[in-house]
Amino acid sequence: DAGVTQSPTHLIKTRGQQVTLRCSPKSGHDTVSWYQQALGQGPQFIFQYYEEEERQRGNFPDRFSGHQFPNYSSELNVNALLLGDSALYLCASSLAVYEQYFGPGTRLTVT
């Protein structure tokens, strides 16, 4: 049984560009949450998707958007990249038991 998978592993972008990160949840999970982990910090909640809708959002600007597909996989899009968006982006999946399983993350570097 595959756990949570994310792609790509690493990504380098320049300021102003747009990026899309992808996540496949653990088998049987229907909820996907995205977190941003800056260097030396704990993960910060970006948003959560359930039944293809954004269910809750953290304190992130509208430049951060997402999508969930019928197969429960999800994408995180960030527009107009800033240097401060450089971080590890984590995807977590769960199934209504409040235990979230995390993927390996995508390391985004903005230059």
Partner: protein, 115 residues
């Protein structure tokens, strides 16, 4: 502001020493509590969790944590650490009655165990 506090940012121990990492949260009401570990180069893994019942919970690899409601604390302990416990440890809180599964994390404690 509602938050999760981890008091020790860096801890250095020798093998076989005892470990206690502090975690406090500032939410009232029902909470679910978690400790996650991030080994070097690996992803976040769940060490243990508390939902209800016995406030002393046991997790993987000999770790345990005690929920003290009156102190809003959920400290992580291990009687005897090993070199392989070198990692970053995160405490996290979820408020189930909000209907959402949003985890709020502390800033983490980086543990270095010297052989």
């Amino acid at each position: 502001a509602q938050s999760v506090s981890q008091h020790n940012h860096h801890v250095i121990l020798s093998e076989a020493a005892s470990l206690e990492l502090g975690c406090n949260y500032s939410y009232g009401g029902t909470v679910n509590l978690f400790w996650y570990v991030q080994y070097p180069g690996q992803h976040l893994q769940l060490l243990l969790k508390y939902f209800s019942g016995d406030p002393l919970v046991k997790g993987i690899k000999g770790f345990e944590a005690e929920f003290i409601k009156s102190k809003f604390s959920f400290n992580l302990r291990k009687p005897s650490v090993q070199w392989s416990d070198t990692a970053e440890y995160f405490c996290a809180v979820l408020r189930p009655n909000t209907g959402f599964q949003k985890l709020v994390f502390g800033t983490g404690t980086r543990l270095l165990v010297s052989p």
